[in-house]
């Protein structure tokens, strides 16, 4: 039985690490492309959000390549993610595709993941697998994910000031491959150290003026480069340093009840920071996004790009509250709505204007206060 999973950022690293230890056959999803989106759009309901359409397309592609067991992330709560599985199963059934289906509940990783693994291996598919192997696979996957994300953060700091375009990305890809090839936590740590050292040796133009822009919003749109039109690279081309605040490890840690160990205090810190503007966490990333804007201002960032899929219920709320945050804290925020008919140029033009505005603000502040704003990494 060959399993597959929705292609969400580097989530594949976690799944593949688990599969290495559980000796499963995995059909890795292809990176999202126009063909994925077109396939998803053809089979999805019209009103579905962009992540649903991309996930549907990705799963249909994988099933076409021989997968017959789907592992899908789900969650309890008012976000549509909780009903993706139902919608996708209906959709695949109507497309004439049948196969196994396992849901991994993201709300509670301990119950949602481990119980499902047990169900999957011991009950459904009659596999004999030790808890030790499974646990080891999960920990190794989590570490691999964390190390690759650490390297990704290093890459983002350097994208805007590299002397020769492409150097940093190449170095990141090589480093990530070495981390993926490592089989023990120590060798992973060693590979990360090597990759960091290689990245530090890349010539940088440290005198080039840059602004630091936080990227937040709906998690799939933030993480998937196809969904957001390679936003990080685009910002870097415009001279802005992209700073991501949503990481997949944070979500896993939050699900395990260890949210505080995440980047910058994780989701709990962000939700706490949002309280003056949004007293209740309505689910999804709404409150966390508002909190990230408040924290970004405190950390001396220059602006924030908020990404939301068209008709996303949570992000509508955060978009409206972010306007108030922007007004009160004098913090520029750009909300971009992403849909299946995204024009790359539309995003580029709006980003260009936004980054230009940030540079002008910095220049006027510098002339007034002699302060350039945020610190260089």
């Amino acid at each position: 039985m060959a399993g597959t999973y929705p292609g969400i950022g580097v989530m594949g690293d976690l799944v593949e690490a688990v599969a290495e230890f559980t000796r499963d056959e995995i059909v890795s999803p292809l990176p999202n492309a126009n063909s994925t989106l077109n396939l998803g759009m053809r089979h999805s309901p019209e009103g579905a959000c962009l992540p649903f359409k991309l996930i549907a397309g990705s799963l249909l592609e994988s099933i076409d390549r021989g997968a017959n067991l789907v592992g899908m992330i789900t969650e309890r709560g008012p976000c549509r993610l909780g009903t993706y599985s139902l919608g996708l199963r209906l959709l695949l059934k109507e497309a004439g595709l049948e196969g196994g289906w396992v849901d991994f509940d993201n709300t509670n990783v301990r119950a949602g993941y481990i119980r499902r693994f047990k169900e999957m291996y011991f009950l459904k598919y009659d596999r004999r697998l030790s808890w030790f192997d499974m646990g080891r696979g999960f920990v190794m996957g989590l570490l691999r994910l964390a190390f690759i994300e650490a390297l990704e953060a290093e890459r983002n700091c350097r994208l805007a000031i590299q002397r020769r375009p492409g150097d940093v990305e190449t170095c990141f890809q090589e480093g990530a491959e070495k981390i993926r090839a490592a089989r023990t936590p120590w060798s992973m740590r060693w590979a990360l150290g090597k990759a960091r050292a290689a990245m530090r040796s890349i010539p940088l133009d440290r005198k080039r003026p840059t602004v630091r822009v936080v990227i937040t919003g709906e998690v799939y749109c933030v993480i998937d480069p196809f969904a957001n039109g390679r936003l990080e690279q685009r910002l870097a081309q415009l001279g802005a340093e992209p700073c991501r605040v949503l990481w997949q490890t944070d979500y896993l840690l939050h699900g395990m009840g260890l949210g505080r160990l995440g980047h910058l205090g994780g989701r709990p810190a962000a939700i706490r920071a949002a309280r003056p503007y949004m007293a209740d966490d309505i689910g999804g990333d709404a409150a966390a996004n508002v909190g990230h804007a408040v924290l970004a201002k405190r950390r001396g960032m220059h602006g924030l790009v908020h990404l939301k899929p068209f008709a996303c219920m949570m992000e509508f709320i955060s978009e409206n509250i972010l306007q108030k945050v922007s007004e009160e804290l004098d913090f520029p925020i750009l909300s971009l709505t992403l849909d299946d008919v995204n024009g790359a140029e539309r995003i580029h033009v709006r980003l260009e204007a936004f980054v230009e505005n940030l540079f002008r603000r910095c220049a006027s502040r510098k002339s007034r206060l002699g302060d350039a704003g945020g610190k260089r990494p």
């Binding site: 009103g47 309890r76 008012p78 909780g82 599985s85 139902l86 709320i317 409206n320 509250i321 709505t337």
Partner: protein, 313 residues
């Protein structure tokens, strides 16, 4: 002291309860009038981003209330373990209104439903206004009992109890959707009246299964978290089991995230039933009465053809 209730969104299933509750607490209750299309067009676009028609209409109601009430009550129905679990836009609306309508009437927001006792938040909001916990409890009991009587009336209002107009075959149409889309004349495009004028008997989720708004519905083993979505799906199930409708219409508002999940399920269920036509009507700011009328007429022709086919068989 005057309390304002917005005649939109959750007012449709729960408004009668709130009215009785506040009247019992000796407040003057002011309910904003239903918005006409012109008023809506004049007063919308206060929100940023794309949003459904019922939420956009909140702007008009709040504008009308300015200077007319001491505070506007916006329900906060967010408790994940509670009885009602509404769409996140309605759940986050009190926070948004405070920021977007800072110049509007004062907004007080706390959980208030007939299905559970008013809690700490309700007491915190009402005690400073001179109402004691005993008053709040008594008001809740009176309002809850009246709401239960109203539910019984809705249930008694089921189709099939009265003969239709002469010469027209009796047709029962199940109209599904969020209760606030079905109830608000601004958003429903007069669809229920249109159907009744054409000799149809109209069944809606509030007639069929009023209590299912507090019941967690499962579809193919998956829980449907949103209460009103579950209510639509449950009423479809009950309608198919108890009395088969001649057709199903789903009235959806454009950009509604919940409907984007529910509509495909309803369509899939209807496809599985032989000869059960299903129509989805999507309404937005540009929807006109003519567009709804034309589609309903075509749909009824289809329903009639099905009835004739069944009669011949």
């Amino acid at each position: 002291m005057k309390v304002g209730l917005l005649n939109c969104l959750l007012y449709y299933p729960l408004g009668p309860y709130w009215e009785t509750f506040f009247r019992e607490l000796k407040f003057d209750v002011v309910v904003s009038p239903a918005l006409s299309r012109d008023e809506f067009d004049r007063r919308r676009t206060r929100f940023a981003g794309d949003i459904c028609l019922p939420v956009e209409s909140v702007a008009g109601h709040l504008d009308w209330m300015k200077g007319r009430v001491d505070f506007a009550f916006i329900p906060k129905l967010l408790d994940r373990r509670g009885d009602l679990y509404i769409c996140p836009v309605c759940a986050g609306l009190p926070s948004v209104i405070r920021h977007v309508f800072a110049d509007g009437p004062e907004v007080r927001s706390f959980p208030l439903t007939p299905f559970s006792e008013p809690g700490r938040e309700a007491r915190r909001a009402l005690l400073p206004l001179g109402r004691s916990p005993g008053d709040i409890r008594r008001a809740h009991v009176v309002a809850r009992d009246r709401y239960a009587a109203l539910e019984a009336e809705w249930r008694a209002d089921l189709p099939g109890r009265s003969p239709g107009p002469a010469g027209v075959p009796p047709r029962t149409i199940l109209v599904l959707g969020m209760p606030y889309v079905l109830g608000d004349p601004l958003t429903n495009g007069n669809l229920p009246d249109l159907l009744r004028q054409r000799g149809c008997e109209v069944a809606m989720p509030l007639n069929l299964v009023p209590r299912s708004m507090i019941r967690r519905v499962h579809v193919a083993g998956y829980p449907i978290y949103w209460s009103f979505a579950g209510m639509s799906l449950h009423s479809l199930e009950v309608a198919l089991k108890e009395r088969r409708p001649d057709g199903v219409i789903y009235l959806s508002s454009f950009a509604c995230g919940v409907d984007s999940v529910v509509v495909p399920i309803v369509q899939a269920v209807c496809r599985r039933c032989e000869d059960l036509p299903c129509l989805t009507v999507t309404v937005d700011e540009h929807a006109s009465a003519a567009h709804v009328e034309v589609r309903v007429e075509a749909f009824l022709d289809c329903v009639d053809a099905g009835i004739r086919k069944r009669a011949l068989a």
